[in-house]
Subunit: 234 residues, 4 copies
């Protein structure tokens, strides 16, 4: 097995890393299966067994990483070191016990996602694009936020009397504003007064575009990053 160390003292375990990635994906899928109601006992056992196997391998991985890392403490207290221990801890802490209050603790298992990201070259590239367009994204985020706030205030004044349940406060109205401006439109809250409808119409025409701006900006930045990469390759 080829073993290399990166600048943070993190050990690259060669082909073994591929296995870890697959196990993470399996672990996440089994997490989803566990939530199915009315699971047969057979299936429950399969899922429990899968979880035990995965945690075992992750524990072995953790021990190997500690033993191979120089200096040893660097890994334990590094970002991924903390993630790695948090991703297996819930299993040991909740072993035997299945009290409901402790179940939320198992959500820590989802941190394995972060482990997955570690392996993915492409996600690092996306992060670069995000950093590149940070200013624009924050800016359009602020504008979108202001719009959401003003839209909520406005619809509150138009609809509060007609629909005190749906538009009982500006915070209630924000649920409407988010659903409308992202164009999801579940249809559970919507204006019914003439004033509210006209206001909504104007807000939608102006606002849908503003809320969609960050996407367009990010895609554009992504494209630029690619062009730069190609230029550097020449």
């Amino acid at each position: 097995m080829r073993i290399t160390r990166d600048t943070n003292g993190y050990v690259e375990l060669g082909r073994f890393e591929k296995l870890i990635q697959i196990l993470i994906v399996i672990s996440l899928i089994s997490f989803a299966f566990e939530t199915l109601p009315n699971l047969s006992t057979a299936w429950q056992n399969v899922l429990k067994f899968t979880e035990i196997i995965i945690v075992l391998i992750f524990t072995i991985e953790y021990i190997i990483r500690i033993s191979l890392c120089r200096p040893r403490l660097k890994y334990i207290f590094s970002f991924y070191g903390v993630i790695d221990i948090l991703a297996i801890l819930p299993f040991f802490l909740t072993a035997g016990i299945d009290i409901k209050s402790i179940r939320a603790f198992r959500l820590l298992r989802l941190l394995r996602f972060v482990k997955l990201l570690k392996y993915n070259k492409a996600i690092r590239r996306l992060r670069d694009a995000l950093i590149d367009a940070k200013d624009e994204l924050i800016l359009s985020g602020i504008v979108a936020g202001i719009l959401l706030y003003l839209a909520s205030i406005g619809i509150y004044y138009f609809e509060e009397e007609a629909q005190p349940d749906s538009f009982g406060s500006v915070f209630h109205s924000m649920w409407w504003a988010v659903c409308s401006l992202t164009t999801v439109g579940y249809g559970d809250v919507k204006p019914i007064t003439v004033g509210g409808k006209i206001f909504t119409g104007i807000v939608l025409i102006i606002g849908v575009g503003i809320v969609a701006m960050p996407t367009a900006i990010l895609a554009s930045s992504f494209n630029n990053a690619k062009k730069k990469e190609k230029k550097n390759d020449l």
Copy 2:
């Protein structure tokens, strides 16, 4: 405290400006909280007290600005001078009184938003992008407007007989047109006749893209503005 004057005689108050910005955000959040129904008296007092403190500081700010500005009248009648006085006026005018008809007057407090914009460099950049793409935005706005109008006329002719309540006039139909073409689709108004459905299908396929155009144009212009800035920095 470092004090500088811009070309409009507007006084920059150094670190004090940061405080003003934070107070504006707090003021806007407390505005939203005030709309909550069934607020306990304790909370109502907290909000009232917050508002008094904020208005006090804003008043002091206003007086400082007047006293520091040369020539003095320039600030009072400048754009931000008017905004600054309008943002605190409602407090003094409605002090003691809480008659419903006067409450709408308090909406003037929202003008503090404009004050916030003043401090934000990035929003100035967005304004530049908006100005740059003005022609295209107006144009696509006109086309989108024509589309909304024609779609409203069309659906009115198809659905009026079947749904006289929802599609009672072209103006009623416009509510449907806005909700559909922005793809929000609340589901409260929708075609039920075969003709109306076919018409809607055609309108949606053509129109959704046209209505979304301004966003794409603005994002593109935003990206160009950034490129230009970078070039100038070199």
Copy 3:
């Protein structure tokens, strides 16, 4: 009044053209008002009177254009000549009569829109962008069409038995496909079977992007057209 002739023998009537444009907009708005149910007689008269005035001016415009155009017949049989006559014809044909079967005929008045486009420089530019991106638009249109068709076939096979009313045939399913893939989602037709939901999920993830492609392409082409214009100006 400054009078110029374009290459098609169409006469430019100087400041008079501005008046015509405003009258077209008024005419279109009054068209919408006429559809309002329970209009008072006073308002009905105002609208009728407006229409008479507008048609009168349009008729005078038409006569002036004929008398000024050389060769005269060129204008009458030109594209805008036909539009101009069709836009005033319904008034004379339906004068006095208000039989319902003839009302549809009044829709011809909407052709005045085309007249409006004639005056608008910017809309000509949009047309150029449309022509420039024609190939890509047709192509993405075909792909979107194929997707709509296949999605309709697929959902038909999944949902027909469970919801024979909503998904009674592939054509019924197309209504669902258009509403879903344009992301409008009225909510009147939606899958309820597990298979249908999984199929919908896959179709939406793949398809929403494909259906939105033409917009992105057009916006991009629009932006390019602008860049070219700027280059030519230098």
Copy 4:
């Protein structure tokens, strides 16, 4: 008739190819018509007859292709050779029989779509754009997938108790996640708890953009491909 052979030994049949394309489109439309309930016997016969004619011509086409191709076996076992035979096979296999279990078999006829793609130059160009942006598309696909998964987990924890039917498991929640993040929003599943609404709001604001990213990336890549083509043409 002009006859040419491409590198795969595939025979180009000149003007005859155009006819085949039209027949494919007719065949696909008649497929949709066949699903209409309560079709009159007359119409059923028309559709049956159309199908027979089309299959006949396709069979003749297949025989011609085999007889003209050198070496003969190359066509039979080539990609389009297999498609061509699969597209006519269902007719011969289900002739006379109309058992329901065999009807699904007729879906193979839809493979004629692939035949259509063969003829379309523009679709080849789209394929190139897809290949060019492959990395970005896969990457944003992964990110969108992670988002969908995490959103489903999150809403499950917030809404499961309040709505055990709609959010009974993470898989149930995924239906909500897909509908919401693609902004379709049918409205059949939506959060009702305060926590769930706040979570949804945050997910929508972040997520709608992420899920829409692949479109923006593809459109951008499409545009680049066009620019490159133009450069090469010079």
